[in-house]
Amino acid sequence: MIAVDQEYAFQIKNLNVWYGDNQTVKNLSMNMRKNRVTAIIGPSGCGKSTLLKTLNHMVSLIPHTKVSGEVIYEDKNIYGETVDLEELRTKIGMVFQKPAPFLKSIYENVAFGARIHGENKKSDLDERVERCLKQVALWDEVKDRLDKSAIGLSGGQQQRLCIARCLAVEPNILLMDEPTSALDPIATLKIEELLQELKKKYSIVIVTHNMQQAARASDDTAFMLNGELVELAPTGALFSAPKNQTTEDYVMGKFG
């Protein structure tokens, strides 16, 4: 792996995704910058989640899915050459809409990623769990009950736990699919703050249905409609002066 073009986290070229006969991503090309937050917005069903899942090869788990085009990550088209999926997913973390902590203790949730990669030394794990929980600002809230079930946490805490769990495998990219849509305003705020913190170390792609959130928290915003990329621009520009009429209609709340 020779480091050449390190400017982009992903370069997507002519990407198409089909579920069966149903094409949900259509000839989509875009670049996502490193160490930036890229937001993807668009009405329900437009293919946001699908695009996100293509980036870490999760789509390939869904039966009857077909992908064509290129997604270049670390100078390698992950849909062209053979890639080690487990390794890829280790490096590209993903956080989902509904927090889904495993039915384990808080500690084991965070330690899970390290354990599956063969790390079992107690002291190393301890250190890692603490570090990751601190990164998501959850440490103080849970440090006294690390061995309690993660199910007992509130929604916002669970979501931060899931992010910590992701960080524990030391990815360099974070994909987030509507990570705050199930959360209350305060928890949402915390996660948004966390994003600003995390983008120093990670490249982040976030799908959101909340335009205010995109406006507040992202550097670049991509607007999708019916599987196509309508507009990609720095967030400020996209919201204040969209080039495209549809984009304008959408950000003005005319539909969706």
Binding site: E86, E87, T90, I116, H117, G118, E119
Partner: protein, 292 residues
């Protein structure tokens, strides 16, 4: 990150091995069961002829058929369903639609599950005690059908409850919001939507009742009235399943093992048929509705 690489390799190899093992295990187990059943069916089918179905069972000589036991099987099945379907479905609807969420309901649920777990031989003994010992009507179709009906009850109840529960709440509220009474909602909206599930339940129960033997032996006996189309409720009620056991183990007739082989094949095919027959209308119904 590269520290993970070695571990990843090991994990992947073990993943491959485990996957392969599962493939082998599952396929061989299924193949084994299927081939055993095919052996049973095959042996019987090759000797099967049409007259086997309409000839009377012979008591002593070769070449008997299964007409009366076949009749009893269906007769008793239908009777048992007549007893159990209204009550089973009624209870299922009660639990899904009416039961308030309290201790009593919890207890009723335990009862349903408890009844579902009662071994069939206990139902047989119960039937024996009631009909033979208490009412002294002997081993009869009635006794067998009622005992079978009791055996079916809890399963029907549970399946109905599940099927009714699975009907989306939106559909139910929509009907209520249109001013329908609860009864109308259940009859016109909920039941039609739950029909596939209920039908599956009935076929499950019917298949089970059709093949049940312990209950029949104890409550309906191991002989028939010897008359075809005997609708008397008080005739003895040997069924095909019992006949299979009876000829195989009593061996009075000359060609006992051949009859057993043929009966086993017929029994298996009938059970499959019941499963299909009852499911097909529900399936068609479903298809029709889903067609654009």
């Amino acid at each position: 990150m590269s520290v993970y690489r070695k571990q990843l390799k090991i994990s992947k190899i073990s993943d491959k091995i485990q996957t392969g093992f599962l493939w082998a295990l599952c396929l061989s187990a299924i193949l084994l069961i299927i081939s055993l059943l095919f052996m049973v069916v095959g042996k019987g089918l090759s000797q099967l002829s049409l007259d086997f179905f309409y000839k009377m069972p012979e008591e002593l000589d070769k070449g008997g058929g299964i007409s009366t036991v076949l009749f009893n099987s269906f007769y008793m099945l239908i009777l048992s369903l007549i007893f159990s379907i209204p009550i089973g479905i009624g209870s299922g609807i009660y639990l899904a639609e009416y039961a308030p969420d309290n201790k009593l309901t919890a207890m009723i649920r335990v009862c349903v599950e408890g009844l579902a777990s009662v071994p069939s031989i206990v139902f047989g003994l119960f039937g024996l005690a009631i009909f033979v010992e208490y009412f002294e009507i002997g081993l009869t179709i009635l006794g067998g059908a009622v005992s079978l009906g009791l055996l079916n009850l809890p399963v029907l109840t549970r399946v109905t409850e599940e099927a009714v529960r699975a009907v989306p709440e939106d559909v139910r509220s929509s009907a209520i919001a249109l001013g329908a009474t609860k009864f109308q909602t259940i009859m016109r909206v909920v039941i039609p939507s739950a029909l596939t599930g209920i039908m599956t339940g009935i076929s499950l129960v019917a298949g089970r009742a059709y093949g049940e033997s312990a209950v029949i032996i104890l409550a309906a006996g191991t002989s028939t009235s010897g008359v075809m189309w005997d609708f008397s409720l008080f005739a003895p009620g040997e069924t095909l399943a019992v006949h299979l056991w009876y000829v195989q183990s009593e061996a009075i007739v000359e060609d006992a093992s051949a009859i057993a082989e043929k009966s086993a094949a017929v029994l298996l095919l009938m059970v499959l048929l019941i499963n299909l027959i009852i499911r097909v209308p529900a399936w068609l119904h479903h298809r029709k509705l889903n067609r654009r």
